[in-house]
């Protein structure tokens, strides 16, 4: 049988290694979300069509991830998609910032891209972005292309 000291040492090491593995999973494998509710603030925007945008999709400005989508719902009066997203607390964006939904790569995931305006006032928690551009739906774009092609042939 093992001595008491050695027993305590191996069990202690087991627990430490197990907890270190958990910490590794939390810090290195997952995103210990830096845009959590306590530090960030929520902004809304409405789009005519959000395509395949999903909750937790990134919000980017100039290609830098500054937040993530937190909620998507349908406005029952205007029939537009209401998208809420959380931005990191350190980012203060002009009030006339515009939002667009882009796709990373041809078939990649969709994300919200913010384009800063020139206003001195900044967006506060709960504000709504007025200017928005819908997602490009591949079928619509193809349809428009074919339509214009057919019209050009005549």
């Amino acid at each position: 049988m093992l001595g008491k000291a050695k027993l305590e040492l191996t069990v202690g090491m087991f627990v430490v290694v197990g907890l270190a593995a958990l910490l590794f999973l939390a810090m290195k494998v997952s995103s210990l979300s830096s845009f959590s509710g306590s530090e960030g603030y929520e902004i809304k925007a409405s789009f005519e069509n959000i395509g395949g945008l999903k909750i937790r999709a990134p919000v980017m400005m100039a290609g830098v991830s500054i937040g993530e989508v937190s909620n998507i719902s349908l406005d029952t009066e205007t029939f537009e998609a209401q998208v809420a997203f959380i931005l990191g607390g350190q980012y203060h964006l002009p009030k006339d910032t515009s939002a667009a939904i882009f796709t990373s790569g041809l078939l990649g995931e969709q994300y919200i891209s913010l384009e800063p305006g020139g206003d001195d006032a900044v967006l506060k928690a709960g504000d709504t972005i007025k200017l928005s551009q819908s997602a490009m739906v591949l079928e619509q774009v193809l349809g428009q292309f074919l339509f214009s092609k057919a019209a050009g042939d005549e």
Partner: protein
């Protein structure tokens, strides 16, 4: 005519006997777990008992868990790469390896290996204590076997399982990294950043930990109960040990489906 009637009655009786037996066993199992949970105090009072069991149940299982985790991660990476490279999406390899490990492979394979490595040993040990009449001897000496024998083993299993599953997943991710990045040449930055952006702390990691805690409770419960309930003969112990491994596997796989449906099914 009369004999066929007799056979029929005998058949129905045997079905009834089996049902009654299994219901009775289930009842014994629940009384058993109730007694065990009532004895939780001993675990804090006599910490050395728990320590000894943590060693034999947890520490001695690290080896098989680590080796399995490494190979599973490496194989996942190798096979995933073959599929993903056709779509030019080999950057998603990290995400695929990490998600399958953290959500499913880690908890489930750890539980199955744990049942084979530690569960069977627990059953055999407690069963042999019964064969050699150590448990009745304890009762005669007014020592509660639930407190001295069962509770420390049960809680050691419950504590060990999530730690072992975390080790499995972490080493698996590392194995996936070794094969994906070092061997197959996937970009290291893409590997880690795709993984980090798609694996959520609460959705994936915490749910995986919850799974492994549930499996820890179920597998250790089955193992100690089978040992405690074993027929006190050599054959009885061997049959109980087999039952531990088989029943644990069924319970883990069935529960995994239910838990997965509850945690990830809605999304």
């Amino acid at each position: 005519m009369i004999t066929t009637m007799g056979n029929m009655v005998e058949m129905v009786r045997s079905i009834g006997r089996k049902v009654l037996n299994s219901v009775e066993r289930m009842g014994r199992g629940h009384i058993f777990i109730f007694h065990t949970l009532m004895s939780v105090g001993i675990v804090f009072k006599e910490f050395s008992l728990l320590l000894k069991q943590l060693h034999s149940v947890g520490v001695l299982s690290i080896q098989i868990i680590a080796v399995s985790g490494l190979t599973v991660g490496m194989v996942l990476s190798l096979q995933g790469y073959n599929t993903l490279v056709d779509f030019g999406a080999e950057q998603s390899l990290g995400q695929m390896v990490a998600l399958s490990l953290v959500r499913e492979m880690g908890p489930v394979l750890t539980a199955l290996l744990f049942a084979g490595r530690a569960g069977s040993a627990l059953t055999a040990e407690i069963g042999l204590m019964k064969v050699t009449e150590q448990l009745p001897a304890m009762e005669i000496m007014a020592v509660d076997p639930y407190r001295k024998v069962i509770a420390p083993r049960f809680f050691a299993g419950v504590i060990s399982m999530p730690l072992l599953a975390a080790i499995f997943s972490a080493i698996g991710v590392f194995g996936g990294y070794l094969v994906g990045v070092e061997l197959l040449g996937v970009d290291a930055g893409g590997f880690w950043s795709q993984m980090q952006s798609k694996v959520g702390l609460y959705e994936d990691i915490i749910n995986g930990v919850i799974k492994s805690i549930v499996f820890g409770i179920v597998v250790t419960w089955i193992a100690v109960f089978e040992g405690f309930d074993a027929a006190p003969t050599t054959e009885g112990v061997s049959r109980a040990t087999t039952r531990t491994v088989v029943n644990s596997a069924f319970a883990v796989l069935g529960l995994d489906f239910i838990l997965t449906a509850l945690m990830f099914g809605g999304a």
